[in-house]
């Protein structure tokens, strides 16, 4: 089955802020699969920042990847409808003070929606750096506990809503950079532990939700064969 990696905005932003978008080209050329984004994600990482001088360069660099076909825009017929469905489910999963908490937006929702729509034809992975969407899929009860801790109030969860988000395979820019390094696409004058330390901290400081402990563990694994 063909592979596809669907990118949320957060992962491409981390790579762009660290001038590491080039690893996507090298990875794309080295494996049989597609890098996909949805129209909502394109809006967040190209169209919107093009109007802001501070991030215009990053937006143009991402746009170049799209023009070269390294990342591809995917918009199947039912994507909008399915995205609305994801938002409806996700944004009614948690409740505090008799109020449903809106937790996910169109961009993140469209990634889950596209993954569902393409799952018959592709082996799908999601690339998500931001924390909430990842927690919603992988450990939604932790998200409820986080809300309770931060809001200092009881938060209820409708567990039936979690079913939709189960079984997605999610990686982050940290794992993408680790893989690129292990495959020889990143050459830096230091030992593997130092390079992994540098790459993963760069991703962390640009918004990738990875902890200090995870980076320490990744450094220990930097010499391991997978």
């Amino acid at each position: 089955m063909k592979k596809a990696l669907i990118f949320d905005s957060s992962t491409i932003i981390t790579l762009a802020l660290n001038n590491m978008l080039n690893v996507l080209q090298q990875l794309k050329e080295s494996f049989d699969g597609n890098f996909l984004i949805t129209p909502s994600v394109k809006k967040e990482i190209i169209d919107n920042p093009l109007n802001q001088k501070r991030f215009e360069l990053e937006a143009l660099q991402i746009s170049s990847l799209l023009q070269k076909g390294i990342i591809e825009l995917s918009a199947p017929e039912d994507l909008e409808k399915e995205t609305d469905n994801v938002m409806r489910i996700g944004n009614s999963a948690f409740e505090a003070n008799n109020e449903q908490i809106k937790i996910i937006h169109e961009g993140e929702s469209s990634c889950f929606a596209l993954a569902k729509l393409l799952s018959k034809d592709y082996e799908i992975f999601l690339a998500i750096d931001e924390r909430t969407a990842r927690m919603l899929s992988e450990k939604p009860d932790n998200l409820r506990k986080l809300f309770e801790k931060k809001l200092h109030t009881e938060v209820s969860a409708d567990g039936s809503k979690f079913n939709y988000f189960e079984d997605f395979k999610i990686i982050r820019s940290a794992e993408i950079l680790f893989s690129a390094y292990k495959r020889g696409f990143i050459e830096l004058p230091a030992n593997p532990e130092t390079v992994i330390d540098a790459l993963l901290f760069a991703s962390k400081f640009s918004g990738c939700s990875i902890s200090y402990d995870e980076i320490e563990r990744a450094k220990q694994l930097s010499g391991k064969s997978f």
Binding site: S9, S10, I13, A16, L17, F31, E44, N48, P49, Q52, R54, F55, A96, N97, N98, E99, I101, K102, I104, H105, E106, G107, E108, F125, E130, R131, T132, A133, R134, M135, E138, N142, L143, K145, L146, F147, K149, K150, L151, T153, K169, I170, I171, E175, F178, S179, K182, R183, K204, F205, G207, C208, S209, S211, D213, E214, R217, A218, L221, F226
Partner: protein
């Protein structure tokens, strides 16, 4: 928002506005910061623009007052007088249920920045922008996604990612889901 929650929120906002004005008069920056934080919990749940606007304004005022040389600017008296009178009127109008007038007061605080000039204008604009991003980061920290938060506050995801990356959000124990061993293995196999 449920009616009981609306009443509670209205009381909360009136409290914040009245005490923010008092804190400005007394140059009490610690209270200003606390008041701003207090709005973040409500903003995360209700995601209404009033809560968010007040959180940003109060935090921006805290940042301005925390800088010792703000009073040297010639336009400072006009700026702070406009802010004070609108905070006071906003609280009064909200108590009376005059929502439209209340929002006009909040808008007037933002608009007074446009009437400033030179370095002071640039400085205040920058403080408001940074406050917006800082409050966004706090809402993201509460569990609302980056996309939803950025949309709510009208900032780009780039700004939010850059700012939140320098906070400790990712190091909260509850953020831990799948082990990095498993995630690295998945990624390495995917790209094989």
């Amino acid at each position: 928002m449920a009616i009981s929650a609306q009443v509670h929120e209205k009381d909360n906002l009136v409290y914040i506005l009245e005490n923010a004005k008092k804190a400005i008069d007394e140059k009490d920056i610690v209270t200003l910061k606390d008041l701003s934080n207090r709005t973040v919990h409500s903003a995360s749940v209700y995601q209404d623009t009033d809560n968010i606007t007040i959180a940003v304004i109060v935090y921006a005022l805290y940042k301005v007052l925390a800088r010792p040389d703000y009073e040297k600017y010639a336009e400072w008296p006009l700026f702070i007088e406009t802010v004070n009178s609108n905070l006071s009127n906003a609280a009064t109008n909200l108590k009376k249920g005059k929502t439209s007038e209340f929002r006009n007061n909040l808008r007037a605080i933002r608009e007074v920045v446009e009437k400033l000039s030179g370095h002071f204008k640039s400085y205040i604009e920058e403080v408001f922008r940074t406050s917006l991003i800082s409050k966004a980061s706090r809402i993201y920290e509460h569990g609302v996604s980056m996309g939803q938060t950025a949309s709510l506050l009208g900032i780009t995801l780039f700004e939010l990612a850059e700012y939140s990356g320098k906070t400790g959000i990712s190091d909260v124990d509850l953020s831990s889901t799948v082990t990095i061993d498993k995630r690295l293995k998945m990624a390495m196999e995917f790209f094989r």
